[in-house]
């Protein structure tokens, strides 16, 4: 039995014991460009997943990497989205602080890209991740997560509070939180 998710970029196939993330050919791109992008992104994603693990963040173990495909361990559990609470959100803050200390920006932090399994939060989907130690990149990373809380939970303000507390507790910097405030003020993000 296979479950298939078709996202904007990749196709995710979930088997009994493993998961395949495949970047299929995009017909709209010329072949030279298309192959290069898929290969580069697949490699980059696999590498960052491993680096995140080394930084102490729970992620699926990579089983194999091909040109356009990552095969990884299947994490059995609940989407964090469905079990979210303040305590877990604080945990997410700690995890993100660890990623940031390692210079990893996830790029798509949402409770959908996290799985809660046997008391641990696994981070998946590093498809938009990149390396940076810049305050701006970290601030945007936090902002993306908070926006996703806002969209999904009525008590998002308390969840946000817990998330930022966790972030500070595990080495996230005040400077990033300051920048976050600035980002929240910027035009395009203003909530009306």
């Amino acid at each position: 039995m296979v479950e298939v998710y078709r996202g904007g970029e990749a196709e995710v196939r979930i088997y009994e014991d493993f998961v395949e993330k495949i970047r299929r050919r995009k017909r709209y791109r010329i072949r030279e460009l298309d192959e290069e992008i898929r290969k580069k992104r697949t490699r980059a994603e696999a590498r960052i997943i491993s680096q995140a693990r080394k930084a102490g963040v729970a992620t699926p173990i990579i089983l194999d990497v091909e040109n356009d495909k990552i095969v990884m361990e299947r994490i059995r559990g609940d989407e964090l989205k469905d079990v979210m609470n303040e305590e877990l959100c604080r945990e997410v803050g700690k995890i993100v602080a660890k990623l940031h200390s390692a210079g990893i920006i996830h790029g798509d932090l949402t409770p959908r890209n996290m799985i809660y399994s046997e008391g641990k939060i696994y981070v998946i989907d590093f498809g938009l991740a990149f390396h940076s130690h810049e305050v701006e990149a970290k601030g945007v990373d936090l902002h993306v997560f908070i926006e996703s809380l806002k969209a999904a939970y009525d008590n998002w303000e308390r969840l946000k509070e817990a998330f930022l507390q966790g972030y500070l507790e595990s080495g996230g910097s005040e400077e990033v939180l300051e920048r976050l405030k600035e980002i929240e003020q910027r035009g395009r993000y203003i909530e009306r």
Binding site: R6, G7, G8, E9, K26, R27, Y28, R29, I30, E32, L33, D34, E36, I37, G107, D108, L128, F130, V144, G187, R188, I190, R192
Partner: protein, 322 residues
């Protein structure tokens, strides 16, 4: 109801007249820079010299008495150009004793696109000289989900064209050259989530020119790279928002290869692709007139004292009541 709209946020000074069903009159007076890019003050000078003539042409085709409201593009755009447009609109509204409606330029692109293509709830990809944005309606507002982090795609193309010594306007010339390109030259492909960046692509393409590569190959590689980037963020937005219509608007939208790329992307996801007719794709007065009409019918009117120009006017500042 009949609305007259004045557009002049950048290079094209244009006046359009529409009713609910169709465009009745459209007159353009594009500003063509003698060299280099658009200088705001020179463009404004052009607009102020031309606005009288353009209006005269319009009124030779339609009786001013028939016009029910005056719409103008209030922003975003170049300050000096916007001021010429706003002044002309105020004068006309006072003279004809008709209501005035200030219109957001980006919103007008999207609305005229929906009007002419019958797209219902699309992701709009707005690609012009100064702007490159991925827009969709969420609740009562259009929101920008992705955009260029530096320059607009149109300006990027023009910059490359000028560098390779091609005369203005650069877009169509690059498109022609690209058709003859054969060899793909590697260029940076910069997509960050739903945002894009073009300035690095321009610099890299310019280096190929300095190194003696053929203009055709450079144009081809440049288009394939940047257009694929646009297609990718469009697709991401459609997947994220779970929408299955894509609407292409803005001057760069006239490019046939860009249209083809987006059409293929849509086909492969079972989505519909829409593009308005060429004359309503780039900046034009008809889109301002149409959006002004729509707004007026839903209770919008701009008092003279509130009609100051808004060079940084964002699309999400307008509440969509229709």
């Amino acid at each position: 109801m009949i609305a007259l709209g004045i557009e002049g946020t950048a290079w094209n000074l244009s006046v359009g007249v529409v009713n609910e069903k169709e465009v009745l009159v459209l007159e353009n007076s594009p500003y063509i820079p003698p060299s280099g890019g658009i200088h705001p003050r020179e463009a404004a000078q052009h607009h102020s010299e031309e606005i009288g003539k353009v209006l005269k042409k319009v009124f030779s085709k339609i009786d001013p008495e028939k016009i029910d409201l005056i719409a103008f593009s209030q922003g975003p755009g170049l300050g000096p150009c916007l001021r010429i447009v706003a002044t002309a609109a105020r004068t006309l509204a006072l003279k004809l004793e008709k209501p005035l409606v200030g219109v957001n330029h980006c919103l007008a692109h999207v609305e005229v696109g929906k009007w002419t293509t019958k797209a219902k709830n699309p992701v709009a990809v707005y690609v012009s000289g100064g702007n490159t944005q991925i827009i969709a309606k969420r609740g009562k507002r259009y929101r920008v989900f992705g955009e260029t982090l530096d320059i607009g795609l149109g300006n990027a193309i023009d910059k490359l064209a000028r560098y390779m010594g091609l005369p203005h306007p650069g877009g169509p010339r690059i498109e022609e050259l690209a058709k003859m390109g054969r060899r793909y030259l590697k260029l940076p492909y910069v997509v960050k989530g739903m945002d894009l960046s073009f300035s690095g692509v321009v610099t890299a393409a310019q280096k190929y020119y300095d190194a003696g590569e053929k203009k055709e190959d450079i144009a081809y590689s440049f288009q394939e790279t940047t257009f694929s980037m646009v297609a990718e963020v469009s697709e991401r937005a459609m997947a994220f928002l779970e929408l299955d219509e894509l609407l292409l608007v803005g001057g760069v939208g006239a490019n046939k290869r860009l249209q083809e790329i987006l059409r293929i992307m849509c086909e492969d996801r079972g989505a519909k692709f829409y593009a308005p007719p060429k004359e309503l794709m780039g900046d034009n007065g008809a889109m301002i007139a149409y959006t002004g009409l729509l707004m007026y019918k839903h209770g919008y009117e701009t008092k003279i004292e509130d009609s100051r120009v808004l060079p940084n006017f964002r699309i999400d500042e307008v509440e969509i009541r229709w």
